[in-house]
């Protein structure tokens, strides 16, 4: 009986939905990620960026690495193709432009943290984003050195940009100190204790569709025709067919499979949180950095 009760209780606890988040007040979004495709992976951001666009936000994408290793075309060509695809994908999501910081792909571990952070502080002071979306430095088991580096640099840059004694040379350019009030962080939720999301962001079908399209724009790394070819061979061996593949090239079928994957993961996160589509994040509100004061400020601040 106890086992039966536990069997009922444990999944119920595990499935407790996250609170649904809102788009914070503001109009500028800065997405800071290590790679060309991180803005629209299976574990985050493409749908939320589209939602920010729908809410009237102007958004910018900063990719820290040159992505030279992503793809089969060799270092310099990969860099060029990935940048081009990144620009196309971000346009689909309604973003204004892409900054490439061009650090060497997958070699970011030994680069000077302060130098990377200084670049981000400059971008933050230039654009004064109300929201930064980035990688979660506290996500566990992330094997990618670029993810770890950018996450750590962002964690400091978002508040250090607000201190005038940090890079005072920026002030000579007419830039003012500025602290980023709102932060959304993502990481894989399927790695060990993994990422610890505290909010689910509901998405519409249209936002998921833009996420799907943005994702498959990265043809240099996703939607390989060989993937569809392998799946077709397996289906054939089991005497199965998928009607949607009929009349499509391997590349078109691969794009379709990737779009289904994006739809599936968005539905899965939605179902876990009581809505049709969603993405999940660690969200930091404007005064969360003052745990002893945030309630007081929220209760006592007046217009």
């Amino acid at each position: 009986m106890k086992i039966l009760l536990l069997a009922l209780i444990i999944p119920a606890l595990a499935a407790a939905p996250l609170p649904l988040g809102k788009i914070p007040p503001g109009h500028i979004l800065l997405v800071i990620e290590p790679h060309h495709d991180d803005h629209t992976t299976d574990y985050g951001m493409g749908g939320l960026i589209a939602r920010f666009t729908d809410a009237g936000y102007e958004s910018w994408y900063a990719r820290a690495s040159n992505d030279e290793k992503d793809g089969a075309s060799g270092y310099p060509l990969n860099d060029m193709i990935n940048l081009r695809e990144s620009e196309a994908a971000t346009r689909i999501l309604g973003m204004k432009g892409v900054y490439s910081l061009n650090w060497r792909n997958d070699y970011m571990d030994p680069i000077p943290l302060q130098e990377l952070r200084a670049q981000l502080i400059l971008l933050i002071r230039k654009h004064r984003p109300d929201v930064v979306l980035s990688h979660d430095p506290w996500g566990h088991y992330d094997r990618n050195p670029d993810h770890r580096k950018i996450a750590r640099a962002v964690a400091e840059a978002v508040w250090m940009a607000g201190l005038p004694n940090v890079h005072p040379e920026h002030l000579a350019l007419g830039l003012e100190p500025y602290r980023v009030p709102y932060l959304f962080l993502k990481a894989r939720v399927d790695y060990g204790r993994g990422h610890h999301p505290n909010v689910a962001m509901e998405l519409t079908k249209s936002q998921v569709e833009r996420k799907q399209k943005a994702y498959v724009t990265h043809l240099n790394v996703y939607a390989h025709p060989s993937m569809a070819r392998n799946i077709r061979q397996q289906l054939q061996a089991e005497k199965l067919t998928v009607p949607e593949f009929e009349g499509k090239t391997d590349e078109e079928a691969a794009v379709l499979i990737e779009e289904w994957y994006m739809d599936w993961i968005s539905r899965k996160r939605g179902a876990e949180n009581g809505v049709r589509y969603a993405e999940v994040y660690w969200y930091r509100d404007e005064f969360d950095y003052l745990p002893g004061l945030k309630d007081y400020i929220s209760t006592n601040a007046v217009k």
Binding site: P25, W138, W159, N165, N198, L290, L293
Partner: protein, 288 residues
């Protein structure tokens, strides 16, 4: 008379050396000030090692003046808590990511061997969602320093200068309550700190006065809150005149709330929360 002298001797003999390691000036006060003050009130001796110079955190003051004022203020704050010495290592604030972790470790190791603490307070490097990474770097270095200070093959020249290996038996990891999983018990392996909540009602006032002594940092915090609210068409009546009284009140609200958060689910009304590893955790379970 003999009894009084005997009790005094016992008290002095059992007094502990407490070494507090902090990254920035306010860290140790906000997260551990009440507990440190209570130890001092109980007869222990406390000493502070401050890793950064806090040169960034002010409102419209240059870095040099910020560092200078904050140094004086943290010394005043430490005095209020009963800390007898403050050793400032002088690293530039928010730049520890570019400093060799081994260098920071060995500087803390030096003080551990010099002062021979029984108790060590360090920032918890495993506390998540604290964006001030100075605390992370300092915590890692201090944790490693505690371990290395006990081993004779670390820093051989120190031994030649008379600084012998030293084992610190009690370790408190402190942090502000950013991490939602901070109360989760760790596994039960050999050396594994566990959650510990310490009541601080008797020393709360000293902790508050120590926090209020950091005038440069506090004024900066108040003005940054005010600026953010103004930029978004809001205001906090308390900060309309950001004078000493208003800033002190803001600090009081902050310190009281932090004590209340730490006391949740505990028998205390005001508390501080730690991950704690005492002498018992250094004996492997299988050997107990």
């Amino acid at each position: 008379m003999m009894i009084v002298l005997f009790l005094l001797f016992v008290s002095i003999a059992s007094a502990k050396n407490v070494l507090v390691v902090t990254a920035d000036a306010s860290d140790f006060i906000l997260a551990a000030g009440g507990s440190i003050s209570a130890m001092v009130a109980g007869g222990d001796r406390a000493i502070l090692v401050r890793v950064t110079n806090d040169d960034k955190d002010s409102w419209r003051l240059p870095p040099e003046e910020t560092a200078s004022r904050t140094k004086a203020e943290v010394e005043q704050a430490a005095k209020i808590l009963g800390i007898t010495q403050v050793h400032s290592l002088g690293y530039r604030a928010d730049e520890l990511g570019g400093v060799s972790p081994t260098e920071i470790r060995d500087r803390i190791l030096f003080y551990i061997r010099l002062l021979k603490p029984d108790v060590l307070f360090i920032p918890n490097p495993y506390a998540e969602y604290d964006e001030v990474l100075d605390r992370f770097y300092t915590g890692l270095a201090a944790e490693e320093a505690r371990q290395a200070a006990a081993l004779p093959n670390f820093q051989l020249p120190f031994a030649k200068a008379g600084l012998q290996p030293h084992v610190t038996r009690e370790l408190y990891y402190y942090a502000q309550p950013f991490d939602p999983r901070r109360r989760e018990a760790e596994s039960t392996a050999t050396f594994t700190p566990q959650p510990k909540v310490v009541g601080i009602a008797p020393t709360f006032d000293k902790k508050l006065r120590a926090a209020q002594a950091l005038k440069t940092i506090n004024y900066s915090m108040a003005m940054r809150i005010r600026r953010r609210l103004e930029d978004t068409g809001r205001k906090l009546p308390l900060l309309e005149t950001a004078d000493d009284a208003a800033v002190n009140k803001l600090v009081e609200i902050n310190v009281r709330k932090l004590a209340e958060i730490a006391a949740r689910d505990s028998p205390y009304k005001q508390a501080e929360e730690f991950m704690y590893a005492g002498p018992e955790f250094q004996v492997p379970q299988k050997l107990r």
